[in-house]
């Protein structure tokens, strides 16, 4: 029982809805909509203990490395994978970084939109998820819809409010042979939109 996860769960009263798959400790890539820096905290806290200890969330390096408190939270408490968003080069390519996380056996939480969206619309998916799906075609990709997290900590605020959130886990998808990048990204985005309606 992780006390921080329990506190987060109590604070947001978050409900986990496993609609398309079960909470088993199999290796998966959870891809979710992105509305707030609170997103991965809610998703992380709602996973059962057995799953949570082997799941790494992705977080933006430019936000979480600002200041010693955030750095400590990101690296020591939540143990996220900090990825570069602004100046992506060969050396700090996030896809390489995340492939290494998967190779370790850990599950992954990623946000393919790449940036927080203001409204309920899903933005275009960045291509990282496609490259990950191609390199590890044996891992299920689970569409995960986070509801209400944008109201807990909207962009620009720094005090979270207790709002009832919910996390819906949809039916997993995998990259089909001969599927192009555009087709896959579209299909993944539709899967997440479907998840939102469940």
């Amino acid at each position: 029982m992780n006390p921080i996860a329990s506190t987060l769960q109590l604070f947001t009263g978050v409900q986990a809805r496993w609609m398309g798959c079960a909470p088993e400790p199999t290796q998966r890539i959870y891809f979710a909509n992105h509305t707030s820096h609170f997103d991965f905290l809610v998703l992380w806290s709602v996973l059962p203990d057995k799953l949570r200890c082997n799941t790494t969330a992705v977080a933006a390096k430019d936000y979480w490395m600002k200041g010693p408190f955030r750095k400590w939270l990101a690296l020591k408490v939540f143990k996220v994978a900090l990825i570069e968003r602004e100046n992506v080069t060969r050396k700090n390519n996030p896809v390489v970084q995340l492939k290494a996380v998967l190779d370790r056996g850990s599950s992954l939480i990623i946000f393919p939109e790449g940036t927080r969206s203001f409204d309920r619309q899903l933005h275009e998916f960045k291509s990282g998820i496609y490259h990950l799906a191609r390199s590890r075609s044996d891992v299920d990709l689970v569409p995960t819809f986070l509801d209400n997290c944008n109201r807990v900590l909207p962009k620009g605020e720094f005090i979270p409010l207790p709002m009832l959130c919910s996390v819906t886990f949809g039916t997993p998808i995998r990259l089909q042979p001969k599927e192009t990048k555009e087709e896959f990204l579209n299909r993944a985005r539709l899967a997440l939109e479907e998840c939102a309606k469940l």
């Binding site: 009263g13 209400n148 909207p154 962009k155 605020e157 409010l161 207790p162 709002m163 009832l164």
Partner: protein
């Protein structure tokens, strides 16, 4: 009482085979179970004494606020005000009760908090839908915090010959409110034919209303010994409590329909959340408090 209810529920679930009847029994049973949880928590709080009860109701207000605000379409512009509501205004209201500053407790929310909310919202600068947003937050604060806080305030009412027995008064109040709810449901299921307000709350019937209120008033009158009232006064008080309780349930139903929700939250399984449990209590508490204070406390 709960033990009897549980026993009856268990027997019924074995006897009734019809699936529709089984559904009703299941509903009653899950209500009874959730009630056990609440009663145990309640007794723990009473055991902890006055401060414990105040803290318990502060928590109840927090949970109710959280559900209510989640259902209210607040915007980014409301974020700062809501911080004040959750973390400052709610605790202060209960703190005032704890330190027995009754005169401020009675006006803190309707005067000071009511003024602060639009002021803070105006400073925040978002004028979109300003009046509606301000009003919704003010309403949430009134229903979830102010009205609910009248329940533990009952603990401090001292009538001549009835000093320091507020705990019994609170028990009487909570019992009458909630038994009225349950009995209205039971009478409604058994005899319900004519709907009262079908567009607002399709489950409320005239038969349920009359049977439930009538029996709750009779039960309340029989409990006069717990209170500073004689039997017919206890009956009238119980009538006031149950009527306001019914009104509260009706109003909160109307709000739910407006928001398109059937249950406020999924906090307590089988109940639909904190708001659904306290919707009767929050309208009845202030009336009962003030009636008792006006007529019996000198």
């Amino acid at each position: 009482m709960l033990g009897t209810a549980s026993l009856i529920g268990w027997i019924l679930s074995k006897l009734l085979k019809d699936p529709k009847q089984q559904e009703v029994v299941a509903n009653l049973n899950s209500r009874t179970n959730a009630w056990w949880v609440m009663v145990v928590t309640f007794f723990i709080a009473i055991g902890l004494g006055r401060k414990g009860s105040i803290i318990l109701f502060c928590l109840v207000s927090f949970l109710a606020l959280r559900e209510f605000i989640t259902l209210t379409p607040t915007t980014r512009g409301d974020h700062r005000v809501l911080f004040w509501v959750f973390f400052v205004l709610n605790p202060i209201q209960y703190l005032l009760l704890a330190i027995n500053w009754v005169s401020l407790f009675l006006i803190f929310i309707p005067v000071y908090a009511y003024l602060w909310i639009p002021i803070r919202n105006a400073i925040a600068g978002d004028t979109n839908d300003f009046l509606a947003r301000t009003a919704k937050i003010q309403w949430a604060l009134m229903v979830c915090v102010y009205f609910v806080s009248y329940a533990p305030a009952l603990l401090d009412l001292h009538a001549p010959g009835y000093e320091h027995q507020g705990a019994k008064l609170l028990c009487f109040f909570v019992f009458v409110v909630q038994i009225s709810d349950v009995l209205q449901y039971v009478f409604g299921k058994l005899f319900g034919k004519h709907k009262i307000a079908p567009l607002v709350s399709p489950n409320k019937t005239v038969e349920g209303f009359l049977g439930g209120i009538g029996s709750a008033v009779a039960l309340g009158a029989s409990l006069y010994w717990m209170t500073p009232f004689n039997p017919w006064q206890a009956a009238l008080m119980a009538l006031a409590i149950t009527l306001m309780g019914f009104a509260g349930g009706l109003v909160m139903s109307a709000i739910k329909r407006d928001r398109g929700v059937k249950d406020y939250g999924v906090l307590i399984p089988g109940h639909g959340g904190m708001m659904d449990r306290i919707d009767s209590l929050c309208f009845a508490a202030p009336i009962f408090y003030h009636l008792t204070r006006f007529f019996f406390v000198h």
